[in-house]
Symmetry: C2
Subunit: 402 residues, 2 copies
Amino acid sequence: MSSRLEGNLVLCQSGGPTAVINASLAGVIEEALQHEEITGVYGAMNGMLGILGRSIIDLKKEEPSVIAGLRGTPSAALGSSRYKLREEDLERILSIFRAFGIRYFLVNGGNDSMDTGNRVWEFAIAQGYELRVMGIPKTIDNDLACTDHCPGYGSVARWLAIATMDSGRDTEGIYTADPIKIIECMGRDAGWVAASTSLAKQTEEDAPHLIYFPEICLRKEKFLKDVQEAYDTRGYVVIVVPECLRGEHGQVLVESKRLLDTDGFGHRQPGGVGQFLADLIAENLKIKARCDKPGTIQRSSILCLSPVDLEEAYRVGQMAVRYSVEGKSGFMVTIERINSPDYRVEMGMIELEKVANRIRTLPPEFIHENQNFVTSEFTKYCAPLVGGSLPKYVRLKKHYVA
Amino acid sequence: MSSRLEGNLVLCQSGGPTAVINASLAGVIEEALQHEEITGVYGAMNGMLGILGRSIIDLKKEEPSVIAGLRGTPSAALGSSRYKLREEDLERILSIFRAFGIRYFLVNGGNDSMDTGNRVWEFAIAQGYELRVMGIPKTIDNDLACTDHCPGYGSVARWLAIATMDSGRDTEGIYTADPIKIIECMGRDAGWVAASTSLAKQTEEDAPHLIYFPEICLRKEKFLKDVQEAYDTRGYVVIVVPECLRGEHGQVLVESKRLLDTDGFGHRQPGGVGQFLADLIAENLKIKARCDKPGTIQRSSILCLSPVDLEEAYRVGQMAVRYSVEGKSGFMVTIERINSPDYRVEMGMIELEKVANRIRTLPPEFIHENQNFVTSEFTKYCAPLVGGSLPKYVRLKKHYVA
């Protein structure tokens, strides 16, 4: 498989958008242009839907200024999708790849997308069609196995850490009227996103005061006790919860019941748990509580781009092309952290089947024994990913007049 | 009243926090230090609650670095409140002012706070106590009468314009799975905040595609028709709604029923209308819809500070001190826009009673005749307030492969 393979390359952007997925696209395009054996550089419109619908664009025809601008443009410029591949699609895909002369197939997405890549790759082998398949990691959820972290996560972590600082100061400023705030963040199966808000906390007064995780089923009595204690300590509380927080029996606490809101993978639309818990607090503790639910804004902000995340997103795109030109196929690019005093990484790769459909949850050593905050080990892990220091806010010393 | 008046100054921060209310505090402190007749510069902790509770701090004892840092620190550093003054409070306030030697009383807030300032001022006159009272405008709602705009608005407008760009690109990127998004923004009685999201829209594809206003009661059939038409046009829709959107009979569509959630002024906690309308769309149009509700994050972001807003917030604080030292009392500082090709303002003042408890809604000429967007007159009004250009994003030209 290390022989020179001439043909066209096609990239799919897949799953939820991020602030840096277009940086990976830029990395793919700029690297692909360096290799003569890659004759055409194509993008599928709206992920696998674009392959199946033959809706494929020629990226070589884009202006260089547009390609350069991708690094500063959030969300998925090619369009993305949440399409679950059916068995009967595989043959169709291969016939389209033949028709379009495609020999390089890159999928930029999460664990569902790595499964897609793996199945297409296995089918191509079975059919004797030489195809280089490479996965490019992308998910704000940071839950892909076998990689230190995922592009997209550093930027959502930076956004949420700053938003939690701001929202926390807001509550601290008006706690006499609004003493309790819940911030509902993303994170389907793992608590990485929720945990990242802990970076906002530098002092005892700083938010967040409590963080909950999808890994730990929430017990109502414990939750209310945590909140009351935190409230008694300082008169206000800022609480972070992931949208897919689970209740005592492991069920997602709040999610849509509509069939319409279920995606191709059977995932239901979550959301609303923040308001649900605010109501629970108001009704049980008789303390006013409100909720911020930034939703998709958190994952698509250019202003809070982590420069580390941006650079790595570009590199994983670049490396996917390099590895496939070298003859590799059936792998996902990984980011491996080097054990050193400074933050340093190198790119590696892992078989797609080892990543496909697997979820890496927050390991126990990152969750505080009280089950309502992170440990300092988590902070050490996460801090370099947000790429630089957070804003510095002041507090008055408050010398009271006698 | 133009005679020299020696005594202490006290400032109250009042109502909902903003990104720049502390800049007004910095303006007050730094200006007050220039005037020998202002012997002490005090801050009330948590607004009027701090006056009534004699919880007053000496701002001269704060480090200069902390005072300087206030410009870059969101929310209310002194703490704020939503306390409605009772008749019997007035006597108590005056006796506390006497005890603390207070001759300068500054209130930084919205129309409720201007009423507070006005009542304290009138009571002081009636009691023959010489007191200089000055209101400093502050409200992200931008609904104070007799001023071109209010400090806090430019920054929330900048934040929301950028967030709408980001959230809009997000929907455009994943419209195949999530075609409709509602952004629920703030704005209690007026549509200024919702309207500001229109700055995100530069091209036909850009979000927002529909904006609704508290000034216009929402008719369900028209709303659903608007959404369906917008969806049919481009396959996705981003809709902005204010938290206090009203229904056909003028009622706030979604607000808390809990007594706990009603503030001193009888305002109930709104919130949830975005999800309510997402459900309405899903159920009636059978199109998937989701909601972003950034909540308090929108009003307290340092990253989206409008430099124009920051500077003006500082100046209104500064001018409140200057005017009161000159002998003025019973006024609120106003911002007056000068008719010129460039954006220029000068500071003025208006009697507190003309501002107290009044609400300036969005004038009809700023609302498009379709009642679901703004006019270009609004854009001309709002654009300079956000202080500089918004991020530039690219779009692929999309040359399809035959």
